[in-house]
């Protein structure tokens, strides 16, 4: 007699697929936010599985900060080619050129991508945006709903969220309002990696270790390239590194690692003792409440 117990990864997969189908069934015009990072790729993979053998019945949107790693763009294009999904690109550079947003002094386009995202969502009439956020990432995310209600300014009010009971999601919105949907809410970083390995999911090669020329700044390792060139007085060194997260190329640091295969990465993540954002994202270090503030403005 079979045990009829689903493993934790298959349970998480089933839950995510349920959420995506629910959104497609109930919302007018969903869209999947695709950064090219591992979480958004896992989300797209799940979308493919949720609607097979039909194609993914919604477009993906890439908010292009203009500060992309080339291998991330290449990977994005492979996914588009392979799945036949429709790609919408919202350009931050274009937003800067049009005066919609202004470049920040520290070179981060993380904050200014929010208005670009919101404008594109409005233009296309998207009423549900899938995001790859996970509750284990950061304290402010721990209370995020799976269906996260946004007012007509795209803003999140932590005190005005709908109770979410059982798996009975309520996506009803008025004209102009929208929801963000987080199908990976209950996944942890380790779950994501174990799943990527189990499903052999195509990722940008940044996530795997190789020898890179890097420079140390403020305790973080940045690869020496066009985005982060060597400054006067700095010395580069060659180390085996990999990226744990993929954000703007000018701000995302890598970590020392010899994990050159997915199996190695799973084992490394299982053993690691530093949360991924704390380790590699200069923009989250600013303050403890940084994420909470950005979420209120409409950031994911």
């Amino acid at each position: 007699m079979k045990s009829h117990v689903l493993s934790q990864l298959r349970s998480l997969e089933a839950e995510s697929i349920h959420i995506m189908r629910e959104v497609v069934a109930e919302m007018q015009r969903p869209c999947l936010l695709f950064s090219g990072g591992k979480d958004s790729i896992v989300m797209l993979h799940l979308a493919v599985k949720a609607f097979a053998p039909a194609r993914v019945p919604f477009p993906i949107m890439h908010v292009d900060t203009g500060l992309n790693f080339q291998t991330v763009l290449d990977c994005r294009d492979r996914w588009v080619e392979r799945t036949g999904v429709q790609l919408v690109v919202a350009s931050v550079q274009e937003g800067i050129d049009r005066g919609l947003v202004q470049e920040e002094p520290n070179g981060s386009r993380n904050r200014i991508q929010t208005p670009v995202l919101l404008e594109a969502a409005e233009k296309h009439g998207f009423d549900a945006l899938f995001g790859g956020g996970r509750r284990d990432e950061e304290k402010a995310r721990a209370k995020e709903r799976v269906f996260s209600f946004r007012d007509d300014f795209g803003q999140w009010d932590p005190k005005n969220q709908r109770p979410e009971i059982w798996n009975l999601y309520n996506g009803r919105v008025h004209q102009g309002e929208s929801i963000r949907v987080f199908p990976l809410s209950n996944w942890t970083e380790l779950d994501i990696w174990a799943y990527i390995e189990a499903e052999n999911i195509d990722l940008p090669d940044l996530y795997l270790a190789k020898e890179r020329e890097v420079v140390e700044r403020g305790g973080m390792l940045y690869e020496v390239n066009d985005f982060t060139p060597l400054k006067d007085g700095e010395t580069a060194q060659v180390l085996s590194t990999r990226y744990r997260t993929v954000g703007d190329a000018n701000l995302t640091a890598c970590v020392e690692s010899t994990a050159s295969t997915l199996r190695d990465v799973v084992e490394e993540v299982a053993a690691v003792r530093l949360t991924e954002r704390g380790a590699t994202r200069g923009d989250d270090k600013v303050s403890e409440a940084a994420m909470e503030d950005r979420k209120k403005e409409g950031y994911f």
Binding site: H4, K49, A142, K143, W166, N170, R273
Partner: protein
């Protein structure tokens, strides 16, 4: 060490020893100061699920505040508003894993006014963790949380008698609380009740067995949670498959495909099974149960699958697939226990709401408020005319179209619904069909 990539193609069950177990969801409840956040912090910390930078940040903040020890509650008290007020104001989800299981914690605040959050957290929980302060014993809130957990059909209740260090690890204190709690719980349907004496602050019986309480012969909390048998809690008897979405590819390569996508709510489905589609009332046979990785030979909860049927029947979202000799009740009259969750409006007789039950939306009118239940005393007020935020009531609804329902106590999926205010779109109530936690 040689490493090879897994082969592409249909995924086998993940073979990673790091994620080999199943999933256990538990809800915690307790008062503001009975140490719930500390207990969770302790579970995360002692099971090595806390990351170095999180711990550093907690140690720094604790030091800044002049605390003698790292305040583990800072790990879970997430939002700034809460940190400032020192209370937890909403359901927060935490994750940790051991080699045996992955745990999802729904951490809910304990205040009187936040029954709503407790109901939310308990709705999907396999286990409810109730905290009792050893110095204070069973208080009103312990009763309320236990009542709500049983009402929400949580199959296992674990009572952690906390702060044992402050009562000199006295067995008598623990036994007295156990006796009092057991007496109270006997009036409720608690299928499985366990008591564990702990000190979250110093770590007794949380992850490691306490040497201070040799008189306790049970397991520490974490081992108990790791070993808890939850598979048999699921309803594997009554086949219920609410159709979520119809997959009909408008593509040349799959033009004739028509599959009914959904999550198995209960029961075990197999290809070849005779099934009944509701509301059509027509019988057919399961041709195939598909997934993106290929067909499977059976589907059980909570699998998300796509079912193909032998005959063409007009089936759409909101319909239900079950067995001909085991069907849910088809009804437009719903008797239910509800928890009211809206602060701006009350539930009154005659009011209309949108109702979502499984994957079906309809409209419902409140025909009758039978009684309001005082969640502290279980007293029934049969003269209640309106139901306000965080109040529980037994009501009768008339729905515009038939729903396919089971009693919540036998099926947590097909026995549950939500009410949505049609003007504000807010989710205003959680409903449990035919449900009462009182034993008859």
């Amino acid at each position: 060490m040689t490493t090879t990539l897994p082969e592409a193609g249909p995924a086998s069950e993940p073979h990673n020893e790091v994620v080999s177990g199943d999933l256990l969801r538990f809800a915690t409840a307790g008062s503001v100061d009975d140490g719930k956040s500390t207990l969770i912090g302790r579970l995360l910390f002692d099971s090595k699920s806390i990351f170095a930078d999180q711990l550093e940040s907690v140690e720094q903040v604790s030091k800044d505040r002049g605390n003698d020890y790292a305040d583990l509650s800072l790990l879970t008290d997430g939002l700034r508003a809460e940190r400032e007020q020192g209370i937890t104001i909403d359901v927060a989800y935490r994750y940790f894993a051991t080699p045996k299981r992955k745990f999802i914690i729904a951490d809910t605040p304990g205040h009187t006014q936040y029954t709503r959050n407790m109901v939310t957290g308990a709705s999907t929980a396999d286990v409810a963790l109730i905290l009792v302060d050893a110095r204070k014993g069973v208080v009103e809130q312990s009763r309320r949380h236990t009542f709500l957990a049983t009402l929400l059909g949580v199959p296992h209740v674990v009572v952690c008698v906390n702060k044992m260090d402050l009562v000199d690890y006295d067995e008598q204190v623990f036994e007295q609380i156990r006796a009092e709690f057991t007496e109270f719980a006997s009036r409720l349907r608690v299928p499985d009740l366990t008591f564990i004496p702990v000190s979250a602050l110093v770590g007794d019986n949380v992850v490691t067995r306490s040497e201070k309480m040799p008189w306790f012969d049970g397991s520490p909390l974490l081992s108990h949670l790791e070993r808890l048998h939850v598979a048999s809690d699921r309803n594997l008897v009554d086949v219920r498959f609410p159709v979520q979405y119809v997959i009909r590819p408008q593509q040349n390569d799959a033009r004739d495909y028509r599959g009914y996508a959904g999550t198995v709510a209960s029961g075990v489905m197999k290809p070849g099974d005779r099934v009944l589609a509701l509301p059509a009332g027509l019988e057919t046979t399961i041709e195939s149960i598909d997934t993106a990785d290929g067909p499977v030979d059976e589907a059980y909860p909570p699998m998300s699958v796509t079912v193909r049927l032998a005959d063409e029947i007009d089936i759409s979202r909101g319909d239900m697939i079950c067995r001909p000799n085991n069907a849910p009740t088809v009804t437009q009259d719903i008797d239910a226990q509800i928890c009211w969750m809206d602060e701006s409006a009350s539930l009154v007789e005659g009011k209309k709401y949108a109702i979502k039950h499984t994957t079906r939306w309809a409209r419902a009118m409140v025909k009758n408020i039978n009684y309001r239940v005082d969640v502290n005393t279980l007293h029934r007020d049969e003269d209640a005319e309106e139901i306000k935020l965080n109040e529980m009531a037994r009501i009768r609804l008339r729905v515009t179209q038939p729903l396919f329902v089971d009693a919540y106590q036998t099926n947590r999926q097909t026995g549950a619904f939500i009410l949505v205010d049609e003007a504000t779109n807010k989710t205003v109530a959680a409903g449990m069909i035919g449900g009462s936690a009182r034993q008859y």
